[in-house]
């Protein structure tokens, strides 16, 4: 390997192995993720170890640290405390709350106990009333942050507002799903870098190179095939990395991702001006599309729900992205096909359009890589 390649690898690996260690000083919050299901709700409740130690004492050997062993030893005590701090009722009466597995989970201010929680309510419950009592006795500024879906705003319970209604059933689910679809559409339609990348790849779809010049491709099916190949490859690639990244399986630093996305647009535009990759443009769309998925995932990074909700959320968001993208392709396709015989398009439209894309994306690249502001806000 050349030294340059080694340097690139070292940088990439360095970026990948960054770990976050410092924990914030923060006021006390617990995080309750609840998902409605028939006859109740289930989810996870994250409570800070530090708060648990203040409330019930879990540092048994008083060495100022909480080990996994100490946490496990206090499990029954913790669940009893939690059970006495959260009450759910439906129209037909009190719900039965049970706790499942206890794990550990890291939030910005430290490690929390993560308790799987299930609530079973009598009758056909359509809504549920929560009363929250955790920690208020020892911390008057404690908050219970309750989330029922990624799209719905969280409910914040405080010492003076301890109760809240949660609606169950499909209204939350469908509305939340639709909200995610809209978020995805919004994201692609305002994500000019993704759109420019796709546009740059599609501009020459109705043309082919013959002895250094562009000539029109006659048949519509051939054009359509080319467009489909590029769009599908881009979609598959960005869906793949979006999923991996949203599931926290992969994480790349945002500045690297944003810079690399800008660079991918530069490459796509350059390829139109100095064509290297022609029939294999779909492959370029795939390789570079992997990067764009990381960019999409940034929007989803704050969302933090159980496996079922996560899959639904991700699917909704991705669907929204694809619908938005399809709309743009449907607008572009007639234009590209209609103009394919035009000399002006071949000689001027394509090169000038690509040059414009190249210019914009180069500015983005410089801005993002060096953290400057030139054109964007």
């Amino acid at each position: 390997m050349t030294s340059l390649k080694l340097l690139v690898w070292a940088t990439l690996l360095g970026l990948l192995t960054l770990s976050s260690s410092a924990r914030a000083h923060k006021a006390s919050d617990s995080y309750l993720f609840l998902e409605a299901k028939t006859g109740g709700a289930s989810g996870r409740w994250d409570i800070a170890l530090r708060d648990l130690d203040d409330a019930i004492g879990i540092d048994r050997n008083a060495d100022g640290q909480v080990s996994w062993g100490e946490l496990k030893a206090a499990e029954t005590q913790i669940k009893r405390y939690a059970l006495a701090s959260l009450f759910a009722t439906s129209a037909a009466g009190a719900c039965n709350t049970t706790f499942g597995r206890m794990a550990a989970v890291v939030h910005s201010d430290g490690t929390y106990a993560a308790l799987d929680i299930a609530m079973t309510c009598p009758g056909a419950a359509h809504s549920l009333r929560l009363r929250y009592e955790l920690l208020f006795a020892i911390d008057a500024q404690h908050r219970g942050v309750v989330r029922t879906s990624a799209a719905a705003p969280p409910i914040v319970l405080t010492k003076s507002r301890r109760e809240a209604n949660l609606s169950l059933g499909d209204s939350g689910g469908l509305a939340a799903f639709w909200a995610m679809v809209r978020l995805g559409m919004d994201h692609i339609l305002h994500g000019y870098d993704h759109l420019l990348f796709l546009t740059a790849l599609l501009l020459p779809s109705a043309l082919r190179r013959e002895s250094g010049r562009w000539v029109a491709v006659a048949a519509f099916p051939a054009v359509l095939r080319d467009v489909l190949r590029v769009v599908t490859a881009f979609t598959v690639a960005h869906s793949l990395t979006l999923g991996l990244s949203a599931a926290h399986l992969v994480s790349l630093p945002s500045r690297f991702v944003e810079s690399a996305i800008a660079f991918s647009v530069v490459l796509a535009a350059l390829n139109n001006l100095f064509p290297l990759v022609r029939s294999e443009r779909w492959l370029a769309a795939f390789c570079l599309g992997l990067l764009h998925g990381f960019g999409f995932a940034a929007t989803l990074s704050d969302i933090n729900l159980s496996a079922v909700t996560f899959a639904r959320t991700l699917f909704g968001f991705n669907l929204g992205v694809e619908v938005g993208q399809l709309g743009v392709v449907l607008l572009l396709l007639p234009l590209i096909y209609g103009l394919r015989h035009s000399q002006r398009y071949q000689r001027l439209g394509l090169p000038l359009g690509s040059a414009a894309v190249l210019l914009i994306s180069s500015v983005w690249l410089v801005e993002r890589a060096f953290n400057l502001r030139i054109i964007s806000s």
């Binding site: 976050s20 000083h25 996994w68």
Partner: protein, 415 residues
């Protein structure tokens, strides 16, 4: 570029040329990077895990501040403390822990200790003063001023209540009222504290240098000061000298304040702001590396790291974003000043910074609040929105080199 053009012109159709190798090599590299990323342990957050060993340490609890009684709930409920003397003593310890560590959980504990008296309008004077301190720390300034008014109606000479109210009124920019409280305080306390009270107001109204000189003289005369009080006085003198534009002397005083109280977050903030203004980010990194836990200091650390192009800048920026998001989630607004500065200096988002700076200026009006609003309005090219801060600065005759140069720049932009 030369290679690319060359390859494009001479390549035979359908053959993989050198340049295409490069392009596909790049693509393949990305795929490999993706695979490496998948199989490498990434810093996952918010994903529950089951530790492999019972010995694995999950959390380091904060060191017990000496003398602070642990707080315990026997079940979900804990009987509120009815004894006002006990409640006062315990809450005072919690507030002291908060002042030492800047950890807001202690404020919640202090409030809980006072819960039996929290909504009692007519609570004992010492409890009213503590309640006001907690409220002011949460930026509930008006209720805090009301509590102190009630306390002073009962005990007009209470020095703590007077000092507390003068400090809050200074933060709010209500200088005439603050001056009155400082005048009422003067006969009750030592010369140093009396001058400290009035000095903060004078520093905000164009008399920073005179106030600093008076305090220096009083400090020489003062006898038997505790390190905490000596640190407080030196820190205030340093801050006044920053406003007076005497960077060299300011740095000397702030450094000596840190010698008395090395962990003091407020002094560290003032000193590192000065160093950032003096383009000495490397020293900021050195000073603040042990204080990443404190949001306001992590902010300055990240700004310094960004100026030095250090790799940690990105990670710290992400951490700050997460902390601000957490604060927003719980509906807390105490971070507005820091968040405005974050958006302005670290995110390059002057529009958002301006929104936050405007909202922040509606709540507090210290030099940094003025400065941020002016800077954000300038960066967002909306000088009209700085009008309020400009008027305020001119009315109070605010003296501060950074504010003066921002006002100058805004004038230039309007002409």
């Amino acid at each position: 570029m030369a290679i690319v053009r060359d390859a494009a012109e001479h390549a035979a159709p359908g053959r993989m040329t050198r340049a295409r190798h490069v392009l596909f090599g790049g693509g393949a590299l990305l795929v490999v990077v993706g695979l490496v990323a998948v199989f490498s342990p990434s810093p996952t957050r918010s994903e529950p895990f089951l530790p492999a060993s019972p010995n694995q340490i999950l959390e380091h609890l904060p060191e017990r501040v000496a003398g602070r009684a642990p707080i315990r709930a026997a079940g979900a409920s804990l009987e509120p403390i009815r004894d006002p003397l006990l409640a006062e003593r315990l809450a005072r310890e919690d507030i002291r822990s908060y002042q030492i560590t800047a950890d807001p959980r202690y404020l919640g504990h202090a409030e809980a200790r006072l819960s039996a008296f929290w909504d009692v309008a007519d609570a004992p004077v010492p409890i009213l003063v503590l309640r006001a301190k907690i409220r002011a720390s949460n930026h509930d300034f008006e209720p805090a001023i009301r509590d102190l008014g009630t306390a002073l109606a009962k005990a007009p000479d209470d020095s703590q209540a007077l000092f507390e109210r003068a400090s809050i009124l200074t933060v709010l920019g209500r200088y005439a009222e603050a001056v009155k409280d400082c005048a009422a305080l003067a006969p009750q306390v030592s010369e140093l504290f009396a001058l400290g009270c009035s000095g903060a107001v004078r520093g905000a109204t164009g008399e920073a240098r005179g106030a600093a000189l008076d305090l220096q003289a009083a400090l020489v005369r003062a006898r038997g000061l505790s390190p905490a009080d000596a640190g407080w006085a030196a820190s205030l003198i340093g801050e006044l000298l920053v406003h007076a534009g005497d960077a060299k002397q300011a740095e000397r005083w702030l450094t000596s304040a840190l010698a008395s109280t090395p962990q003091d977050a407020y002094t560290l903030g003032v000193l590192t702001d000065l160093l950032l203004d003096l383009q000495r980010p490397a020293e900021v990194v050195k000073l603040l590396s042990p204080f990443e836990r404190i949001d306001a200091l992590l902010l300055r650390l990240a700004i310094a790291e960004q100026q030095l192009n250090l790799p940690q800048a990105e990670q710290h920026r992400a951490q700050l974003a997460e902390r601000f998001a957490d604060a927003r989630l719980r509906g807390s607004a105490v971070h507005r000043r820091e968040e405005a500065r974050f958006e302005l200096s670290l995110r390059g988002n002057p529009e958002r910074a301006l929104e936050l700076a405007v909202a922040n200026f509606g709540v507090q009006r210290e030099a940094w609040d003025v400065r941020l609003l002016l800077a954000a309005a300038l960066a967002a090219k909306k000088p009209a929105l700085a009008g309020e801060a400009r008027e305020f600065a001119e009315r109070a005759a605010v003296q501060d080199p950074a504010i003066s140069s921002l006002l100058h720049a805004l004038d230039g932009g309007q002409r």
